[in-house]
Symmetry: C2
Subunit: 330 residues, 2 copies
């Protein structure tokens, strides 16, 4: 089992386990490719390769390719690029949020400072792009660049919209598409495209990945309300405290368009009673259950997209992944 | 004359003036392409498009293409990508250096804060990459990604090496290649490649651009010692104060390997007398003149590379650009 995997993900990833290990080796090998001139970057590259995580994005790329005869080297490159892009966004996100730890480990900006973390994040973004270039697919290269635009704009839109109670549901959907589902789409689409899947199946894979990505981010947003402080490493309701609306608070606002408790908190954000009132109203309603239903609906839609794909263990794993997402913990 | 050009650059750019204006329009048009979802980015995109500057990099791309029959739309895209990449690096450089102004104008990080400037820089990097994708050249796309790695690693190497007096000349050369000449090379190479120049001429153009880029950066480093505070917007010897060795200080260290005045300042960097001693020793020697000779040598080597290119106004302009670089002011 790779670092960061649990037994259930290990079973889901089984058809692509060998290639996932090559992705891991590729990430760990980045530091050894540093030249004398860039040897200062070696500790940073080593640190990033050891970030861990469930590697769901590269697994998605590999699983999306496995129903077709494919060039394993190209797919390993692409899966590595997808994970490296994700790691680059974490470096910058932690920098701008001034986060000291992520999953109990010091962030790059905490260890090396903001000066280094901004520039090193750029370096990792660009490294991921060189991997995509080596797949020799212009289509995927363009999609990859657009994904970086979507990731950055998603974070910017969230920042600009903080403490603004006038955010309808469709703006939330757009924001989490940019922040998360965009890269899932690229992970799935690139796997299918590079394996030469018929266009209809590429599009189905992209829609599958979109739905999984949306479910994944909403699930993450729900953990922010459900988690215990010791598990999460941050207080319950962190997003709300930071003025970020997610599905539960948006559903609450839809239900109380008058006397809106979220707007009341945003107007008086240093008042813990106002925050507690929002949390209590969510807990005393069906909102968390309704939100979990939304996650499950996305996963069901994802599964439905798999029907036109060739039958086999890769498709079974993708279906199992859709079952896993609603249950997963961080 | 475009904003940022003087009469001399306007004359040099004359053969590509129409295309440079289309580059300008492309940069200014970025904001209007923003959708409802990304409308928060519009003021940022407008601000960046109005950064100004001499546009030497896009001019280089266009001039490199003009000796050959070329697809003007593709070249305008590529030239825009090159300038946009340069603007993206300025956004992040100003963020990590905490610079409040650049050429008398507030930096993005000053106006919008670090949170926005880091993420918006990412957005601009990625936007430039989409332009390159639209040229449909995998070769240039890969070179472009490598350039971003070189730009970022150049800045990181400079940061890690600050206040280290043990930096030989070849490390300085490598550092300024990464920081500046790399993107010049890409500007020149991409113009020639996209215009279908024979490979031998592509390589000559790349070497021309390398030499111009090295001359450009050393010239910049010399201005740091020559400039008056009112012109430069920063005190004389800023690089040295920040522990960054450039050609004059490296030449000084080569001449005084014992009793090294730079090392003495780095050991005692809050002592203005130690700083002044370095500045005086540079001014009382032939070092500035020797450094200017180095710049001129690079420009001469650049000119020599032009000999195998087709004769014509584009080649004449490239030669004139090599004459201009040693004389230019910021």
């Amino acid at each position: 089992m790779l670092y960061g995997q649990d037994e259930r993900t290990a079973a889901i990833y089984a058809p692509v386990q060998a290639e996932l290990e090559r992705v891991e080796a590729k990430l760990k090998g980045l530091a050894s490719e540093a030249t004398t001139a860039t040897e200062d970057l070696r500790p940073l590259l080593d640190y990033v390769a050891e970030t861990g995580g469930k590697r769901i994005r590269p697994a998605l790329t590999l699983l999306a390719s496995h129903s077709y005869p494919h060039d394993s080297d190209k797919l390993v490159l692409m899966a590595s690029a997808v994970e490296l892009l994700h790691l680059a966004t974490l470096i910058h996100d932690d920098t701008v949020d001034d986060s000291s730890t992520r999953r109990g480990r010091a962030t790059v900006s905490n260890v090396w400072g903001h000066h280094v973390s901004v520039l090193f994040g750029d370096y990792v973004f660009a490294t991921s792009a060189t991997f995509v270039c080596d797949t020799e697919s212009l289509r995927i290269m363009r999609r990859f660049s657009e994904t970086i635009m979507e990731l950055a704009s998603g974070e910017l839109i969230e920042y600009f919209g903080a403490y603004d109670p006038n955010q309808a549901r469709h703006l939330y959907d757009d924001r989490i598409y940019r922040k998360t589902a965009s890269l899932f789409c690229t992970a799935g689409e690139s796997g299918a495209v590079l394996a030469g899947a018929p266009e209809e199946e590429v599009q189905a894979m992209k829609r599958y990945a979109y739905n999984i990505g949306m479910a994944f981010q909403i699930g993450d947003d729900l953990l922010d309300f459900e988690g215990e402080e010791s598990n999460m490493g941050k207080p319950v309701g962190s997003d709300l405290r930071n003025g970020v609306l997610t599905l539960p608070t948006i559903l609450l606002m839809e239900r109380y368009p008058e006397d809106n408790p979220v707007a009341a908190f945003f107007r008086d954000k240093d008042n813990p009673d106002k925050l507690q009132r929002v949390l209590d109203m969510i807990n005393d309603s069906s909102i968390m259950q309704d939100s979990r239903d939304v996650v499950r609906n996305y996963c069901n839609r994802a599964c439905a997209e798999l029907e036109i794909l060739p039958q086999g263990e890769a498709r079974d794993s993708l279906a199992a992944l859709a079952e896993y997402v609603p249950d997963r913990q961080r």
